[in-house]
């Protein structure tokens, strides 16, 4: 029997597709990108079959294109993600996300005694370990926060 190839999530005309998000990171991506505040058409799928990830999530955002900052954020939460820019139903630009060297105001420092958890201010981190388990070093208290303890602000 011929295998029918069908899109589980419908295509968009123009916009951004964030594909290959690990299923358990989908909602983190959604909240970090503040997708809930967007007013264009958004399609979200999760637990879709993926050869690479087992189960994956996908987000399609019509008529919006991510900033570099957004892509950095996605890289940290979902390093396997692929970002496709869609123009006229076609992929015009396919990008693998890249982990930035520095991160400002995105995650909380996991050290409760850090000044960033005690004063109204932005957090700042240097990414000290990019391969395997991501490690952030706080610019202020110099303590490390690992991927397991990432908590978005």
């Amino acid at each position: 029997m011929e295998k029918r190839k069908e899109l589980t999530v419908s295509a968009i005309e123009n916009g951004t597709v964030i594909d290959h998000i690990p299923a358990d990171s989908l909602f983190k991506v959604i909240s970090t990108m503040q997708i809930e505040t967007m007013d264009t058409t958004i399609t979200i799928g999760n637990n879709l079959d993926s050869n690479r990830l087992g189960k994956k999530g996908i987000v399609k955002i019509s008529d919006k294109y991510p900033s570099i900052e957004d892509m950095n954020k996605i890289a940290l939460i979902a390093p396997t993600a692929r970002i496709n820019i869609i123009k006229d139903y076609k992929v015009s630009n396919k990008q693998k996300v890249e982990i930035p060297d520095n991160i400002v105001g995105m995650f909380k420092c996991m050290n409760p005694k850090c000044i960033t958890n005690n004063e109204k201010m932005k957090t700042k981190f240097a990414v000290v370990e990019k391969n395997g388990n991501l490690q952030l070093k706080c610019h202020y208290c110099e303590k490390h926060t690992d991927q397991e303890h990432f908590e978005t602000i």
Binding site: K113, C114, I115, N118, E119, Y140, C141, E142
Partner: protein, 302 residues
């Protein structure tokens, strides 16, 4: 170094260390100079620390400077809920340099970003205490004649002790060999051992004092605190294993010196004090010269 805050020992290069140590040496020879006569220095101690505060105030007084500040936060606007940023911005208007001790980690770095004058970190929680590290370097250089190729023993609480971590980082510039002596649960954290591995610096770990101490040039002792043990029985078992006694020093090198950041409780027996290898009280005095040097360089008067 002029106008540059001193927040972490890693902010300064080995050349900077040498510059500070040279100037500290000059101050030791001639400690009373009116170099800070026209300066007002703020000493903000958000948590009490008698030793560090008196050392700084002694250094400022010997250089003829004037001090404004407080020695604990409860009598200040902080207790009314003022933010650290506001306190620092205000005090910046009253002074040429701020010396700050604060229980929250990273507070000094943050203060240096909002202040219009330089900040010297006099301890931010368990994070950094760079002037302590520089006075340790001064003590090592003064007693050994060099910082290069020394065998440094770090003893006691190597897990939480910020002074041993800073000293390890600073000394790693000078090709040392390290020996760590600590109870199992207070061992040197992996990240520091990883750092030494990467730099190709040799280190050895021990759980008790052995004959190995005869190789030491410097023995840096810290307190093993009861609070660090979840099981009080564990503490009782190890507490006497990390007490340095005079009879243990018999085979140590004549040039070997025992350092301790103080306050000492019982980890160095008082009978060690009379031994010529005991150096911790001179070390405290060296803190005054080192702080004179740091302040003069930051204020640009030397």
């Amino acid at each position: 170094m002029k106008n540059k805050s001193l927040i972490s020992i890693n902010d300064y290069s080995p050349e900077d260390y040498y510059r500070i140590l040279e100037l500290a040496e000059a101050f030791e020879k001639n400690p009373n100079q009116n170099l800070l006569e026209k300066h007002v220095i703020a000493s903000l101690f958000f948590e009490p620390s008698t030793r560090t505060r008196l050392s700084f105030e002694s250094a400022i007084s010997r250089l003829g400077g004037r001090i404004v500040g407080f020695s604990e936060a409860s009598s200040t606007s902080v207790s009314k809920g003022e933010s650290l940023a506001d306190t620092i911005k205000t005090v910046s208007q009253y002074s040429d340099l701020i010396i700050m001790r604060h229980p929250i980690e990273g507070s000094a770095r943050y203060a240096s970003e909002v202040a219009s004058v330089p900040i010297i970190n006099a301890g931010d929680g368990a994070n950094q205490h760079p002037t302590q590290c520089l006075l340790d370097l001064y003590s090592i250089k003064k007693t050994q004649g060099t910082l290069e190729n020394l065998n440094i023993f770090l003893v006691g609480d190597l897990k939480y002790g910020r002074t041993v971590h800073s000293l390890l980082m600073a000394m790693s510039n000078f090709n040392p060999t390290f020996n760590f002596i600590s109870p199992e649960n207070l061992k040197m954290p992996e990240e520091y051992k990883h750092f030494l591995d990467k730099k190709g610096i040799k280190y050895y770990e021990h759980e008790e004092f052995t004959d190995i101490i005869s190789e030491a040039d410097i023995m840096y002792v810290t307190r093993v605190q009861k609070e660090r043990f979840s099981d009080p029985m564990e503490y009782e078992k190890v507490k006497n294993a990390y007490v340095l006694k005079r009879e243990m020093l018999i085979n140590t090198k004549p040039n070997m010196k025992i350092l301790h950041p103080l306050p000492r409780v019982n980890e160095i027996d008082t009978n060690v004090d009379e031994d010529p290898r005991a150096y911790y009280f001179q070390q405290a005095l060296n803190g005054v010269y080192t702080r004179m040097a740091i302040m003069s360089l930051i204020l640009g008067i030397k």
